[in-house]
């Protein structure tokens, strides 16, 4: 980090430039220009809607049905669902503002008070044991606050400044007392519950994972509690634990990562300026000083200071924490989640939303009803549940995600995010520099504070010495006075005795007495002198002690002045640091919220790509399948051709073989003829060589031979001719055969090629099928991811498990128990003191009696609720918002008998009405409305009909089973 002047200047310039960019970014992000100064006359819910309307792009959303909206509203505001009558009344109301009328009506009900007593109890106490404050007292305390519409910050101020001294407001101290007055636990939980920051990990060092949680934040809260301690005080004949406060300074601490660097943090609320406790001279600092059995009370209470400051409306950590917590109770998830980890890098729904909510909550005077009323009137609150698209309908998904150019949206969002991120480093340096400057002053101040501690201790010591000396002086002076009184009495006696001695001159005994008295008088006078001397010594010692005290007072005053002066410098640096830190954190929020936008766009793009991938794989598959078909057809053709060639080859082979055979036969014939011909030639030659050839027989033989020769020659020629013919024929046959064989081989080669192509195509098809399945499952996952992101942005309403109390009271009131119990109690009250005719006109009195009966009825039914708490509630001191489901809950639903017996017909309850109805469709309709706040589908009506038909003679039993089935279902378990 640069710390020289030049760099600071550059930093300053960067900062100015950054601010410009920041506004630009902010403007881009919200799509509106910044006009924060002009107080908007617009109601909060409209401001929220405006803020959350996406500037660039959005996916379509659905709105919840009217009856389910009413059910949601009832469950959220008063903790129980509406009755059939209430739903019908709402449906038949035709006024324009019926929704807001309903909201305001619900906010005034006793059920609202009870529900929010519990919600606030759960947030503040997390089912911790009632070690010091009985639950009923605590709830009564909260009830009074909510019923009388006490501004919420005042309730918090009471709780934060409480010590639990005996008296009507003792329950306010439950937050401290039932945490056993443990300083670390209180610091942690004050941070979590009141400021939305779980700083536990920043107790021993800066937070390892969250950049904006510092050890000094933890120690800053801890410093408010440095004097807190538990003490037992008498209350009548009992003894009570009280979380009293001593006037103590904050303790030094060090980081376990940077040992030997002792630091001190004065009281500070995270994100706010440090508090400078006034300098009060020791000895002058208590309203009630600490002592055994006494709850000490300092004149300046750090705890009261925290309460006052936190609830002043100027501390955004407080305002935003509660806004976020109440938002979370209405919407099922905080603007920042989890509610106790609000930090700069948490990804808020919108960077300006929480500041807006916090500001408006404070501006309204912390009116809880007002805030809740605004939240439930937002558009967001009406978000529906049905899926605009789902995994089974990629075509619809495609239409939706292709309606806009999400690539472009993503890249725009990315560049906005990159821009925002790029500014953060400079801001971080700026904060770092401011922090370093602050730490330097802090280091100096830590030394001064240590000196002040010493001076304080020395002064207190001197004061103790002085007090002791003063006590000794008083004792010594008292001894003198006591002795002097004795002396006076003795003097009187002596004088009287002397007189008597004068009167009774000769009385030796009197004379003796007078003498003794004289002696005593002398002795006591001497003793007084001694005592006087001793007293003088003590007075001197006191004067010395007094002087020492004065010196120490001066030393303390000097040390205190030095601290005060250093504090002035510190405050200045602190202001700069806090400002820089808040700017940085604000920008981190913007950046992380932009990241959320980016993630959203990425998720949409992923779905779109997923659809495309699924489609392209499908196309590829289709292509391969088509190719396979073509190839298969070609293969069939080729196979046919080969099949046709085969007999031809056989024929040609046979032809050729025949030709060859006959040719060979001809050859033999030619050879034979040639042999014979040769014999004739030989015979002729032999004859011609004979000397006498004239002999007739010879001549005739010669002639004969000649003749034969001629014949033979012609025969031979014919044979040869024939052979030639045959040879030609053979060649022809061979050629034909060769040709046919070649054709066949060619066809077969083609066929082999085709087979190979087919095999390739087959593999291709298999591979494509695999990748198509993969693409489909990737797509499904992406749909889920997108759904989760959208749900976290409240674009779908979330499923929110009912709290154990909500579940129990919903069951009890749905099945008419509350109504019946209230009616019985009201009857009791009216019987005990019947209303006069006049009183019957007194609406106030009637309301009062109803309320009394209601509270009494609740008390009587509470035992039932406790069963649910023991099964469905998380452990003491564990976060109560996390959902879990165990086998024993299911066993309880199945076999506990509780839900099943409640599901039975009783009085005029839902089940009775269903049994007694004549028309099953309407009866089913009313049943579903009464139990689930919606009408059944046709399928469900038919299911119910079938169910009832299984045993028409056991209508009541079947109806009870049906109602049990609905009461035990997920739909009843989750608000949606």
């Amino acid at each position: 980090m640069n710390r020289n002047g030049c760099s600071q200047l550059i930093d300053g310039l960067r900062f100015v430039r950054f601010l410009c960019l920041f506004f630009l970014v902010a403007a881009l992000f919200t799509g509106t220009t910044l006009q924060a100064q002009a107080p908007a006359p617009v109601p909060l819910h409209q401001q929220i809607d405006q803020l959350l309307t996406p500037s660039d792009a959005a996916l379509p959303q659905t709105e919840i049905s009217e009856t389910l909206l009413v059910r949601r509203l009832y469950l959220d505001l008063i903790g129980i669902p509406p009755t059939l009558g209430e739903l019908q009344a709402y449906a038949s109301d035709t006024s324009q503002d019926k929704y807001s009328k309903l909201v305001h009506k619900l906010l005034q009900t006793p059920e609202f008070v009870e529900h929010w007593v519990k919600q606030i109890d759960l947030m503040m106490m997390e089912r911790r044991a009632n070690t010091n404050i009985p639950q009923l007292d605590w709830e009564e305390y909260l009830r009074k606050s909510i019923a009388t519409n006490q501004p919420f910050h005042q309730l918090c101020a009471e709780i934060l400044s409480a010590n639990g001294a005996p008296g009507p407001n003792r329950p306010a101290a439950r937050f401290y007392l039932d945490r056993g007055g443990d300083a670390n636990l209180i610091t942690r939980d004050v941070g979590r519950v009141f400021f939305g920051r779980d700083l536990q990990c920043a107790q021993c060092h800066d937070h390892p994972l969250i950049d904006s949680y510092f050890q000094s934040d933890f120690q800053g809260i801890a410093a408010f509690y440095s004097g807190g301690y538990m003490v037992e005080v008498p209350d009548g004949d009992k003894k009570l634990q009280v979380y009293a406060e001593k006037s103590l300074l904050e303790s030094p601490y060090e980081s376990v990562f940077h040992k030997g660097n002792a630091r001190r943090t004065l009281p500070r609320i995270p994100g706010a300026a440090e508090v400078n406790p006034p300098s009060v001279q020791p000895g002058d600092d208590y309203e009630i000083a600490p002592a055994d059995g006494v709850a000490a009370k300092p004149k300046y209470s750090r705890r009261a200071q925290l309460a006052q400051l936190a609830t002043s409306g100027n501390v955004s950590a407080f305002n935003e924490n509660w806004a976020n917590r109440f938002w979370s109770l209405i919407f099922g998830r905080g603007v920042i989640y989890p509610s106790d980890l609000i930090h700069a890098d948490a990804e808020p729904l919108h960077p300006k939303l929480l500041p807006l909510l916090g500001r408006e909550f404070a501006a309204s005077g912390f009116q809880l009803r007002n805030l809740l009323s605004e939240l439930v009137q937002t558009k967001l609150y009406r978000a529906g549940q049905s899926e605009p698209f789902d995994a089974t309908n990629p075509q619809r998904a495609k239409e939706i995600v292709q309606a806009l150019d999400w690539n472009k949206i993503l890249s725009e969002r990315l560049s906005r995010w990159e821009l925002a991120k790029s500014q953060l480093a400079a801001l971080g340096e700026k904060t770092g520099a401011a922090k370093d400057a602050l730490l330097n002053i802090e280091k100096e101040r830590t030394l001064l504070l240590a000196s002040l501690d010493q001076a304080r201790a020395a002064l207190i010591n001197a004061q103790t010495v002085q007090a002791k000396a003063a006590a000794e002086v008083a004792a010594a002076e008292k001894s003198v006075v006591d002795e002097q009184a004795k002396q006076a009495k003795l003097q009187t006696a002596s004088t009287a005795t002397e007189e008597v001695k004068g009167l009774l001159n000769q009385d030796a005994e009197i004379a003796k007495a007078a003498e003794i008295l004289q002696q005593k008088l002398a002795a006591i006078t001497a003793s007084i002198t001694n005592l006087n001397n001793a007293a003088e010594e003590k007075r001197k010692a006191l004067a010395t002690a007094q002087a020492a005290t004065d010196t120490h007072k001066a030393a303390w005053a000097a040390a205190d002045k030095a601290v005060t002066e250093k504090n002035a410098a510190y405050m200045q640096a602190d202001e700069a640091y806090v400002a820089a830190r808040n700017v940085e954190e604000h920008n981190r929020r913007i950046s992380s919220s932009l990241k959320r936008e980016v993630d959203y766009a990425k998720a949409v793009v992923a779905v779109r790509d997923g659809v495309q991938e699924v489609e392209s794989k499908a196309a590829l598959l289709a292509q391969s399948v088509a190719q396979k078909e073509t190839l298969t057809a070609q293969k069939t053709n080729r196979l046919n051709t080969v099949a046709q060639l085969d007999p031809q080859v056989v024929q040609a082979t046979r032809d050729r073989d025949q030709a060859q055979e006959s040719m060979q036969a001809q050859q033999l014939r030619v050879q034979d003829a040639e042999g014979k011909h040769q014999l004739i030639v030989t015979a002729q030659n032999a004859l011609q060589k004979l000397p006498d050839n004239q002999a007739d027989p010879l001549r005739s033989a010669m002639e004969e031979i000649q003749k034969r020769l001629t014949e033979s020659e012609s025969g031979l020629a014919a044979l040869r001719q024939e052979l030639q013919n045959q040879q030609t024929m053979l060649a022809g046959a061979q050629t034909k055969l060769n040709q046919l064989q070649e054709s066949k081989a060619a066809e077969e080669a083609e066929l082999a090629k085709l087979e190979a192509s087919l095999a390739t195509t087959e593999t291709m098809i298999q591979q494509t099928e695999v990748s198509r399945t993969e693409a489909a499952s990737i797509y499904q996952r992406r749909i889920q991811d997108l759904r989760q992101i959208r749900m976290d942005r409240f674009e779908y309403s979330k499923l929110v498990a009912l709290t154990p109390e909500q579940l129990a009271w919903s069951l009890l009131s749905t099945m008419g128990f509350v109504e019946r119990q209230v009616a019985a109690r009201l009857a009791d009250i009216d019987k005990a003191s019947p209303l006069t005719a006049e009183q019957q006109q007194d609406q106030n009195l009637i309301q009062q009696r109803k309320l009394q009966a209601y509270l009494q009825a609740r008390k009587e039914l509470q035992g039932n609720v406790n069963i649910f708490v023991s099964l469905y509630g998380a452990g003491a001191g564990q976060p109560q918002g996390d959902f879990f489901a165990t086998a024993d809950q299911a066993l309880f639903a199945n076999n506990g008998g509780v839900i099943f017996s409640w599901a039975g017909a009783a009085g005029d309850n839902v089940t009775s009405k269903f049994i007694n109805a004549t028309e099953i469709n309407e009866a089913t309709n009313n049943l579903y409305l009464a139990l689930l706040g919606r009408t059944p589908t046709a399928e469900e009506i038919s299911d119910v009909q079938q169910y009832m038909n299984q045993a028409p003679d056991q209508k009541a039993a079947l109806a009870q089973e049906l109602v049990w089935g609905i009461l035990s279902s997920a739909e009843f378990r989750f608000n949606h």
């Binding site: 376990v256 990562f257 899926e387 489901a885 089935g965 997920a970």
Partner: protein, 429 residues
Amino acid sequence: MKCPYACGSTEHLMARRKFLSLSASGAVGVAGGLGLLTRGAAAEQVQQKQQRIVVFNMHGGLSQLESWDPKPGTRTGGPFRAIPTSVPGLHISELLPYTAQQMHHLCLFRGVNTSEDDHGKGAYMMMTGRRQTPAADYPEIGAVAAKTLMPEDSSLPGHIRVVPHGGGGRGSDAAYLGPKYSSIHLGNGNPPQYTKRPDGITDEAERRRQEFRRKSDRRFLDGRRTAMTDVFTYSFEQADRLMEQRDVFDVTKEPTQDQEKYGTHDFGRHCLLARRLIERGISFVQVSHSNYDTHNENFDFHLEQVGEFDRPFATFVADLAERGLLDQTLIVVLSEFGRTPNINLYLGRDHWSKAWSVLAGGAKLARGAVLGATNAEGTEVVDIQVDHAQLFHTYLQAVGVDTSASFQIDGRELPIADPSAEPIWTAIA
């Protein structure tokens, strides 16, 4: 991964979970119950053979001098003698003649020093292996065992407490592991709560109402499924399967001669039930025996109590050994602390955590071993001193859990045992 931060605070890990969960929002907001989807790393370390743990919790504080570490004939020894055991040279109190014959299966820690004389705090330390702090809560060994040893898809609960009296219910002893791993109480050895269908619901009615409920859920959850709803649906499936196996909890299904062997008193029955439960694959059973808080009349009480404990316990050990289950089962006999060597005016012994004994055995522990020793009058540990944290590590190591590992719960990393302590390696065979 161990917590890398010097202060060793669990809270870091919690916050890390929360921090990480910001980017993995899918699974957040569901505590513990996601076992199906996020199987812990630790479970995989356990070998195929399922390991089990049975803890005998001697409530009130068993006197080590009247049990595992007698000092007869000394100032502190009290009236009872020491008797030889099946391990040559090892003597234990004469109040345990049957157990004495099983000592060759067991492993005795005689140098326990836990420095905590408060019942509640001592019990917390012995059961969780950590000191109690207001700002953090730790799961008991039973919850850890259920999480690490029980197959994830088991329909039986992994963490059972056989409690002496009354009804059932669920303990709150699983801390951040979530209620899924909380103990299920078998009140006086009866089956878990709500495992008996109410009278008047016939099989037929049960079938049709459940079918209707399932169908309603299927419809509603179609298109709305999340991790949360999966857990909800699964809880009903688990309940159904538990109902089918209800006999597992019925000790009267054991042979009559076994019931006689263990004795008809509560503790005997509970020991036999423990055998039945672990034989059927339940990973952790705790049996209680009370009350040992003998500030008055220590010797009379121990004579009676230890006398009742001895035979069923010894039978349990012998049965396990005989049935070949000892290699897979860790047995622990513990208390919140021991009792003073000094005998008070009322012939009682008071709370004492400086030098006492824990008996264990089975699984991977050395057989017939004695670790640690106290001095002649039992007032101080003189050899191999161990504390609650080391013992906790050792129990889990003995059943194959790597205690230097961490739980992974919804992205959180939580050390299984106190990272600043180590197992007692010499005890592991």
